[in-house]
Protein backbone atom coordinates (compact mmCIF):
# COMPACT_ATOMS: atom_id res chain seq x y z
CA UNK A 1 0.00 0.00 0.00
CA UNK A 2 1.15 3.50 -0.69
CA UNK A 3 1.67 6.14 1.94
CA UNK A 4 -1.27 8.07 0.54
CA UNK A 5 -3.50 5.01 0.95
CA UNK A 6 -2.38 4.71 4.54
CA UNK A 7 -3.04 8.35 5.37
CA UNK A 8 -6.40 7.70 7.03
CA UNK A 9 -4.82 4.96 9.06
CA UNK A 10 -2.55 7.27 11.07
CA UNK A 11 -5.07 8.41 13.68
CA UNK A 12 -6.67 4.96 13.82
CA UNK A 13 -3.24 3.56 14.63
CA UNK A 14 -2.64 6.22 17.26
CA UNK A 15 -6.00 5.41 18.86
CA UNK A 16 -5.26 1.67 18.82
CA UNK A 17 -8.07 1.03 16.34
CA UNK A 18 -6.01 0.09 13.29
CA UNK A 19 -6.65 -3.48 12.26
CA UNK A 20 -5.78 -6.19 9.76
CA UNK A 21 -3.75 -5.67 6.64
CA UNK A 22 -3.75 -1.89 6.95
CA UNK A 23 -2.24 -2.06 10.41
CA UNK A 24 0.42 -4.54 9.34
CA UNK A 25 1.22 -2.44 6.31
CA UNK A 26 1.54 0.73 8.36
CA UNK A 27 3.74 -1.04 10.91
CA UNK A 28 5.91 -2.14 8.04
CA UNK A 29 6.27 1.48 6.87
CA UNK A 30 7.14 2.53 10.42
CA UNK A 31 9.65 -0.29 10.78
CA UNK A 32 11.59 0.99 7.79
CA UNK A 33 11.15 4.57 9.02
CA UNK A 34 9.12 5.66 6.03
CA UNK A 35 9.74 9.41 5.63
CA UNK A 36 6.03 10.05 4.99
CA UNK A 37 4.28 7.72 7.41
CA UNK A 38 6.67 8.14 10.36
CA UNK A 39 6.07 11.87 10.83
CA UNK A 40 2.44 11.37 9.91
CA UNK A 41 1.88 8.88 12.70
CA UNK A 42 3.91 11.03 15.08
CA UNK A 43 1.61 13.96 14.39
CA UNK A 44 -1.42 11.71 14.78
CA UNK A 45 -0.16 10.50 18.14
CA UNK A 46 0.30 14.10 19.19
CA UNK A 47 -3.28 14.85 18.16
CA UNK A 48 -4.66 11.79 19.91
CA UNK A 49 -2.66 12.53 23.06
CA UNK A 50 -4.25 15.97 23.11
CA UNK A 51 -7.64 14.31 23.58
CA UNK A 52 -6.52 13.72 27.16
CA UNK A 53 -7.15 17.42 27.69
CA UNK A 54 -10.87 16.73 27.26
CA UNK A 55 -10.95 14.93 30.59
CA UNK A 56 -12.69 17.00 33.24
CA UNK A 57 -10.02 18.65 35.39
CA UNK A 58 -9.74 17.10 38.82
CA UNK A 59 -8.04 18.36 41.95
CA UNK A 60 -4.84 16.46 42.35
CA UNK A 61 -4.58 14.73 45.75
CA UNK A 62 -1.71 16.36 47.63
CA UNK A 63 -0.55 13.02 48.99
CA UNK A 64 0.05 11.70 45.50
CA UNK A 65 3.18 13.77 44.91
CA UNK A 66 4.52 12.67 48.28
CA UNK A 67 3.84 9.04 47.39
CA UNK A 68 5.62 9.39 44.08
CA UNK A 69 8.64 11.01 45.65
CA UNK A 70 8.65 8.41 48.41
CA UNK A 71 8.71 5.66 45.78
CA UNK A 72 11.87 7.28 44.45
CA UNK A 73 13.30 7.46 47.93
CA UNK A 74 13.00 11.22 48.41
CA UNK A 75 10.69 13.69 50.14
CA UNK A 76 11.04 12.33 53.62
CA UNK A 77 9.64 12.97 57.05
CA UNK A 78 10.87 16.27 58.36
CA UNK A 79 13.18 15.05 61.09
CA UNK A 80 15.52 13.32 58.71
CA UNK A 81 16.15 12.81 55.02
CA UNK A 82 16.05 9.33 53.52
CA UNK A 83 18.50 10.16 50.73
CA UNK A 84 20.96 11.24 53.38
CA UNK A 85 20.50 7.79 54.79
CA UNK A 86 21.68 5.94 51.73
CA UNK A 87 25.46 6.08 51.97
CA UNK A 88 25.35 5.65 55.69
CA UNK A 89 22.89 2.80 55.61
CA UNK A 90 24.80 1.04 52.85
CA UNK A 91 27.85 1.11 55.03
CA UNK A 92 25.79 -0.19 57.91
CA UNK A 93 24.25 -2.89 55.73
CA UNK A 94 27.66 -4.07 54.64
CA UNK A 95 28.74 -4.19 58.22
CA UNK A 96 25.63 -6.08 59.26
CA UNK A 97 25.98 -8.61 56.48
CA UNK A 98 29.61 -9.18 57.27
CA UNK A 99 28.76 -9.78 60.88
CA UNK A 100 25.92 -12.08 59.97
CA UNK A 101 28.04 -14.19 57.66
CA UNK A 102 30.80 -14.52 60.21
CA UNK A 103 28.99 -15.26 63.36
CA UNK A 104 25.30 -15.85 62.85
CA UNK A 105 22.30 -14.29 64.40
CA UNK A 106 23.33 -13.89 68.02
CA UNK A 107 26.74 -12.66 67.15
CA UNK A 108 25.17 -10.28 64.69
CA UNK A 109 22.98 -8.87 67.41
CA UNK A 110 26.02 -8.32 69.60
CA UNK A 111 27.96 -6.88 66.72
CA UNK A 112 25.08 -4.59 65.92
CA UNK A 113 25.33 -3.09 69.36
CA UNK A 114 29.04 -2.75 68.87
CA UNK A 115 28.60 -1.31 65.43
CA UNK A 116 26.35 1.39 66.80
CA UNK A 117 29.30 2.74 68.75
CA UNK A 118 31.43 2.68 65.64
CA UNK A 119 28.69 4.30 63.63
CA UNK A 120 28.38 7.05 66.19
CA UNK A 121 32.02 7.91 65.69
CA UNK A 122 31.60 7.94 61.93
CA UNK A 123 28.51 10.08 62.25
CA UNK A 124 30.48 12.68 64.10
CA UNK A 125 33.09 12.64 61.37
CA UNK A 126 30.85 12.52 58.37
CA UNK A 127 27.66 14.06 59.65
CA UNK A 128 25.72 11.55 57.60
CA UNK A 129 24.89 8.69 59.90
CA UNK A 130 22.76 10.62 62.34
CA UNK A 131 19.56 9.69 60.52
CA UNK A 132 20.45 6.00 60.67
CA UNK A 133 21.18 6.22 64.32
CA UNK A 134 18.01 8.12 64.87
CA UNK A 135 16.11 5.37 63.15
CA UNK A 136 17.91 2.60 64.99
CA UNK A 137 17.45 4.32 68.28
CA UNK A 138 13.79 5.00 67.84
CA UNK A 139 11.83 3.15 70.49
CA UNK A 140 10.37 0.03 68.98
CA UNK A 141 12.67 -0.24 65.97
CA UNK A 142 12.83 -3.90 65.08
CA UNK A 143 15.75 -5.50 63.26
CA UNK A 144 14.97 -8.58 61.17
CA UNK A 145 17.78 -10.43 59.42
CA UNK A 146 17.14 -12.74 56.53
CA UNK A 147 19.30 -15.15 54.57
CA UNK A 148 19.19 -17.99 52.03
CA UNK A 149 19.18 -16.44 48.58
CA UNK A 150 18.92 -12.71 49.16
CA UNK A 151 20.54 -11.78 52.45
CA UNK A 152 20.30 -8.67 54.54
CA UNK A 153 18.27 -6.88 57.14
CA UNK A 154 15.00 -5.07 57.52
CA UNK A 155 14.49 -2.28 60.01
CA UNK A 156 10.88 -1.68 60.97
CA UNK A 157 9.58 1.17 63.05
CA UNK A 158 5.84 1.50 63.47
CA UNK A 159 5.96 5.29 63.27
CA UNK A 160 8.84 5.92 60.92
CA UNK A 161 8.72 3.25 58.26
CA UNK A 162 10.59 0.30 56.84
CA UNK A 163 14.19 0.22 55.65
CA UNK A 164 15.39 -2.72 53.56
CA UNK A 165 19.08 -3.45 53.16
CA UNK A 166 19.71 -6.43 50.91
CA UNK A 167 22.46 -8.12 48.99
CA UNK A 168 22.75 -11.11 46.70
CA UNK A 169 19.69 -10.00 44.74
CA UNK A 170 19.48 -11.63 41.31
CA UNK A 171 19.91 -9.42 38.25
CA UNK A 172 16.56 -8.75 36.61
CA UNK A 173 15.72 -8.82 32.92
CA UNK A 174 14.82 -5.58 31.19
CA UNK A 175 11.39 -4.28 32.05
CA UNK A 176 11.29 -5.85 35.51
CA UNK A 177 11.81 -4.32 38.91
CA UNK A 178 11.74 -5.31 42.55
CA UNK A 179 8.71 -4.33 44.59
CA UNK A 180 8.48 -4.37 48.36
CA UNK A 181 5.24 -5.30 50.10
CA UNK A 182 3.87 -4.98 53.59
CA UNK A 183 1.73 -8.02 54.27
CA UNK A 184 -0.95 -7.63 56.92
CA UNK A 185 -2.09 -10.69 58.78
CA UNK A 186 -5.00 -12.10 56.84
CA UNK A 187 -5.05 -9.16 54.45
CA UNK A 188 -3.90 -8.19 51.00
CA UNK A 189 -0.29 -7.09 50.49
CA UNK A 190 0.25 -3.34 50.32
CA UNK A 191 2.85 -1.95 47.97
CA UNK A 192 5.84 -0.43 49.74
CA UNK A 193 7.51 0.92 46.62
CA UNK A 194 9.72 -0.13 43.74
CA UNK A 195 13.48 -0.41 43.68
CA UNK A 196 16.32 -1.70 41.58
CA UNK A 197 19.38 -3.57 42.79
CA UNK A 198 22.84 -2.29 42.03
CA UNK A 199 25.01 -4.23 39.61
CA UNK A 200 26.59 -6.09 42.54
CA UNK A 201 23.18 -7.28 43.74
CA UNK A 202 22.83 -4.90 46.67
CA UNK A 203 19.87 -2.64 47.31
CA UNK A 204 18.66 -0.16 49.85
CA UNK A 205 15.00 0.73 49.84
CA UNK A 206 13.00 2.84 52.24
CA UNK A 207 9.29 3.08 52.70
CA UNK A 208 8.79 6.02 55.06
CA UNK A 209 5.66 6.61 57.08
CA UNK A 210 3.43 4.74 59.45
CA UNK A 211 3.58 0.97 59.30
CA UNK A 212 0.16 -0.66 59.80
CA UNK A 213 0.03 -2.45 63.12
CA UNK A 214 -1.36 -5.56 61.51
CA UNK A 215 1.74 -5.96 59.30
CA UNK A 216 3.09 -9.45 59.83
CA UNK A 217 5.68 -9.73 57.08
CA UNK A 218 7.72 -7.79 54.56
CA UNK A 219 8.04 -9.37 51.15
CA UNK A 220 9.93 -8.71 47.93
CA UNK A 221 8.68 -9.78 44.52
CA UNK A 222 9.74 -9.24 40.92
CA UNK A 223 7.22 -7.13 39.03
CA UNK A 224 6.79 -5.25 35.77
CA UNK A 225 8.77 -2.03 35.79
CA UNK A 226 5.72 0.10 36.48
CA UNK A 227 4.94 -1.98 39.53
CA UNK A 228 1.83 -3.94 40.40
CA UNK A 229 -1.13 -3.40 42.66
CA UNK A 230 -0.62 -6.93 44.05
CA UNK A 231 2.27 -9.39 43.71
CA UNK A 232 2.17 -11.15 40.37
CA UNK A 233 5.10 -13.49 41.04
CA UNK A 234 6.09 -15.66 43.96
CA UNK A 235 8.02 -13.44 46.36
CA UNK A 236 11.74 -14.07 46.46
CA UNK A 237 11.71 -13.06 50.09
CA UNK A 238 9.13 -13.11 52.87
CA UNK A 239 10.47 -11.90 56.20
CA UNK A 240 8.14 -12.15 59.20
CA UNK A 241 8.09 -8.96 61.27
CA UNK A 242 6.48 -8.89 64.67
CA UNK A 243 6.80 -6.93 67.83
CA UNK A 244 7.65 -3.59 66.25
Amino acid sequence: MTCEELRDEYELFALGLSEGAERRELESHLERRCPVCTPGVAAAMHTVAALALLAEPQPLPARLRKRLMAALGVDSPSWFSWPMLIPAALALAGLLLWVQARAGWQAAERALASSRAQVEQQAKELGQLRPVLAFLNQPGTKLVNFGAGPTGSILVNAREGVLLMASNLPALPAGRTYQMWLIPKGGAPQSAGLFQAAANGTALHARPGLVPAETSAVAISVEPEAGSTAPTTTPILVAPVTGF
Binding site: D8, E11, L12, F13, A14, L15, G16, L17, S18, E19, R23, E27, L30, R33, T38, P39, G40, V41, A42, A43, A44, M45, H46, T47, V48, A49, A50, L51, A52, L53, L54, A55, E56, P57, Q58, P59, L60, P61, R63, L64, R65, R67, L68, M69, A71, L72, G73, V74, D75, T177, L194, E225, A226, G227, T229
Partner: protein, 197 residues
Protein backbone atom coordinates in the same frame (compact mmCIF):
# COMPACT_ATOMS: atom_id res chain seq x y z
CA UNK B 1 -11.03 25.37 38.25
CA UNK B 2 -9.88 24.69 34.70
CA UNK B 3 -7.11 27.24 34.69
CA UNK B 4 -5.86 26.01 38.04
CA UNK B 5 -4.79 22.63 36.80
CA UNK B 6 -4.37 23.28 33.10
CA UNK B 7 -1.68 25.82 33.50
CA UNK B 8 1.41 23.84 32.59
CA UNK B 9 3.86 25.53 30.29
CA UNK B 10 6.81 23.50 29.17
CA UNK B 11 8.71 25.13 26.35
CA UNK B 12 11.12 23.22 24.10
CA UNK B 13 14.18 24.36 26.00
CA UNK B 14 12.66 23.52 29.37
CA UNK B 15 11.53 20.18 28.01
CA UNK B 16 15.03 19.31 26.80
CA UNK B 17 16.57 20.29 30.11
CA UNK B 18 13.98 18.28 31.99
CA UNK B 19 14.70 15.20 29.90
CA UNK B 20 18.43 15.59 30.48
CA UNK B 21 17.86 15.80 34.21
CA UNK B 22 15.58 12.77 34.17
CA UNK B 23 18.27 10.84 32.35
CA UNK B 24 20.73 11.94 35.01
CA UNK B 25 18.35 10.35 37.58
CA UNK B 26 17.42 13.67 39.13
CA UNK B 27 14.32 12.82 41.13
CA UNK B 28 13.43 16.49 41.45
CA UNK B 29 13.01 16.59 37.66
CA UNK B 30 10.34 13.91 37.88
CA UNK B 31 8.67 16.07 40.50
CA UNK B 32 8.66 18.98 38.08
CA UNK B 33 7.24 16.83 35.30
CA UNK B 34 4.58 15.75 37.75
CA UNK B 35 3.86 19.37 38.62
CA UNK B 36 3.38 20.17 34.92
CA UNK B 37 1.35 17.17 33.83
CA UNK B 38 0.30 15.30 36.96
CA UNK B 39 -3.17 16.86 36.97
CA UNK B 40 -3.78 15.98 33.33
CA UNK B 41 -2.48 12.45 33.81
CA UNK B 42 -4.63 11.99 36.91
CA UNK B 43 -7.70 13.47 35.17
CA UNK B 44 -7.50 11.21 32.14
CA UNK B 45 -6.86 8.11 34.25
CA UNK B 46 -9.75 8.98 36.55
CA UNK B 47 -12.02 9.57 33.55
CA UNK B 48 -11.12 6.12 32.21
CA UNK B 49 -10.84 4.09 35.42
CA UNK B 50 -13.62 5.95 37.29
CA UNK B 51 -12.11 5.20 40.68
CA UNK B 52 -10.01 7.67 42.64
CA UNK B 53 -7.86 5.14 44.49
CA UNK B 54 -7.08 3.35 41.24
CA UNK B 55 -6.36 6.65 39.53
CA UNK B 56 -3.86 7.53 42.23
CA UNK B 57 -2.11 4.17 41.92
CA UNK B 58 -1.99 4.33 38.14
CA UNK B 59 -0.82 7.94 38.09
CA UNK B 60 2.10 6.98 40.29
CA UNK B 61 2.84 3.99 38.07
CA UNK B 62 2.80 6.15 34.93
CA UNK B 63 5.40 8.53 36.30
CA UNK B 64 7.52 5.64 37.57
CA UNK B 65 7.31 4.08 34.13
CA UNK B 66 8.57 7.33 32.62
CA UNK B 67 11.33 7.36 35.22
CA UNK B 68 12.38 3.81 34.33
CA UNK B 69 12.06 4.23 30.58
CA UNK B 70 13.56 7.66 30.13
CA UNK B 71 16.94 6.24 29.04
CA UNK B 72 15.24 4.89 25.91
CA UNK B 73 13.36 8.10 25.17
CA UNK B 74 14.72 10.05 22.21
CA UNK B 75 14.02 13.70 22.77
CA UNK B 76 14.75 14.49 19.14
CA UNK B 77 12.00 12.19 17.98
CA UNK B 78 8.94 13.13 19.94
CA UNK B 79 7.48 15.20 22.72
CA UNK B 80 7.65 14.19 26.32
CA UNK B 81 4.03 15.14 26.93
CA UNK B 82 2.74 13.02 24.03
CA UNK B 83 4.71 10.09 25.34
CA UNK B 84 3.54 10.64 28.90
CA UNK B 85 -0.14 10.98 27.99
CA UNK B 86 0.05 7.95 25.69
CA UNK B 87 1.43 5.89 28.54
CA UNK B 88 -1.25 7.24 30.89
CA UNK B 89 -4.11 6.34 28.57
CA UNK B 90 -2.75 2.88 27.85
CA UNK B 91 -2.20 2.13 31.52
CA UNK B 92 -5.75 3.12 32.40
CA UNK B 93 -7.34 1.24 29.53
CA UNK B 94 -5.29 -1.85 30.25
CA UNK B 95 -6.55 -1.66 33.82
CA UNK B 96 -10.11 -1.25 32.59
CA UNK B 97 -9.88 -4.19 30.25
CA UNK B 98 -8.18 -6.47 32.75
CA UNK B 99 -10.84 -5.58 35.34
CA UNK B 100 -13.53 -6.44 32.83
CA UNK B 101 -11.99 -9.84 32.27
CA UNK B 102 -10.74 -8.90 28.84
CA UNK B 103 -7.23 -10.19 28.59
CA UNK B 104 -6.49 -8.58 25.27
CA UNK B 105 -4.95 -5.17 25.40
CA UNK B 106 -5.08 -2.32 22.95
CA UNK B 107 -4.89 -3.39 19.38
CA UNK B 108 -1.33 -2.15 19.08
CA UNK B 109 1.30 -3.09 21.60
CA UNK B 110 2.13 -0.54 24.21
CA UNK B 111 5.77 -0.69 23.26
CA UNK B 112 4.97 0.24 19.69
CA UNK B 113 2.54 2.97 20.64
CA UNK B 114 4.70 4.45 23.32
CA UNK B 115 7.73 4.66 21.10
CA UNK B 116 8.21 8.28 20.10
CA UNK B 117 8.13 8.93 16.40
CA UNK B 118 9.75 11.64 14.38
CA UNK B 119 8.32 14.60 12.62
CA UNK B 120 5.14 16.62 12.43
CA UNK B 121 4.49 18.67 15.51
CA UNK B 122 5.52 15.78 17.69
CA UNK B 123 8.38 17.70 19.22
CA UNK B 124 5.97 20.34 20.48
CA UNK B 125 4.95 19.86 24.07
CA UNK B 126 1.25 20.09 24.79
CA UNK B 127 0.58 23.46 26.33
CA UNK B 128 -2.30 22.24 28.36
CA UNK B 129 -4.30 25.41 28.84
CA UNK B 130 -4.29 26.53 25.21
CA UNK B 131 -4.44 23.09 23.70
CA UNK B 132 -7.38 22.10 25.89
CA UNK B 133 -9.44 24.95 24.45
CA UNK B 134 -8.32 24.12 20.93
CA UNK B 135 -9.16 20.42 21.28
CA UNK B 136 -12.50 21.14 22.88
CA UNK B 137 -13.38 23.55 20.08
CA UNK B 138 -12.35 20.98 17.46
CA UNK B 139 -14.42 18.29 19.14
CA UNK B 140 -17.41 20.59 19.50
CA UNK B 141 -17.45 21.09 15.73
CA UNK B 142 -17.82 17.35 15.11
CA UNK B 143 -21.18 15.75 14.54
CA UNK B 144 -22.44 14.34 17.87
CA UNK B 145 -22.32 10.76 16.59
CA UNK B 146 -18.70 11.24 15.54
CA UNK B 147 -17.79 12.85 18.83
CA UNK B 148 -19.39 9.97 20.71
CA UNK B 149 -17.36 7.41 18.79
CA UNK B 150 -14.08 9.19 19.47
CA UNK B 151 -14.87 9.42 23.15
CA UNK B 152 -15.78 5.73 23.30
CA UNK B 153 -12.54 4.85 21.56
CA UNK B 154 -10.33 7.19 23.53
CA UNK B 155 -11.79 7.08 27.02
CA UNK B 156 -13.39 3.63 27.05
CA UNK B 157 -10.77 1.93 24.90
CA UNK B 158 -13.44 0.24 22.80
CA UNK B 159 -12.52 -1.41 19.53
CA UNK B 160 -14.59 -0.67 16.47
CA UNK B 161 -16.37 -4.01 16.90
CA UNK B 162 -17.18 -3.19 20.52
CA UNK B 163 -18.51 0.23 19.55
CA UNK B 164 -20.70 -1.36 16.90
CA UNK B 165 -22.10 -3.76 19.47
CA UNK B 166 -22.62 -1.09 22.10
CA UNK B 167 -24.35 1.32 19.72
CA UNK B 168 -26.14 -1.43 17.79
CA UNK B 169 -24.71 -0.22 14.53
CA UNK B 170 -23.24 -2.19 11.63
CA UNK B 171 -19.48 -2.53 11.94
CA UNK B 172 -19.01 -0.98 8.51
CA UNK B 173 -20.94 2.09 9.60
CA UNK B 174 -18.79 2.47 12.70
CA UNK B 175 -15.61 2.16 10.67
CA UNK B 176 -16.82 4.78 8.21
CA UNK B 177 -17.88 7.16 10.98
CA UNK B 178 -14.65 6.71 12.91
CA UNK B 179 -12.57 7.52 9.85
CA UNK B 180 -14.77 10.52 9.09
CA UNK B 181 -14.54 11.68 12.69
CA UNK B 182 -10.78 11.45 12.77
CA UNK B 183 -10.42 13.17 9.41
CA UNK B 184 -12.73 15.95 10.52
CA UNK B 185 -10.96 16.29 13.86
CA UNK B 186 -7.62 16.60 12.10
CA UNK B 187 -8.99 19.29 9.80
CA UNK B 188 -10.63 21.15 12.68
CA UNK B 189 -7.38 21.17 14.61
CA UNK B 190 -5.52 22.53 11.61
CA UNK B 191 -7.97 25.38 11.13
CA UNK B 192 -7.61 28.66 13.00
CA UNK B 193 -10.18 28.22 15.72
CA UNK B 194 -10.42 31.73 16.96
CA UNK B 195 -9.51 30.39 20.36
CA UNK B 196 -6.38 31.61 22.01
CA UNK B 197 -3.93 28.76 21.91
Amino acid sequence: MLFLILSAILGPAESRRLIERLRARDAAALGELYDCYGAVVYAIILRIARDRATAEDLTQEVFLRVWNRIPTFDAERGSLSTWLLTIARHSAIDFLRSRGGKQERLNVSIDAMERPLAGGNAETELQTAGDAKRVRAAMDRLEPKHRQLLELAYFDGLSQSEMAEKLELPLGTVKTWVRSALRQLRENLQQPSGVNA
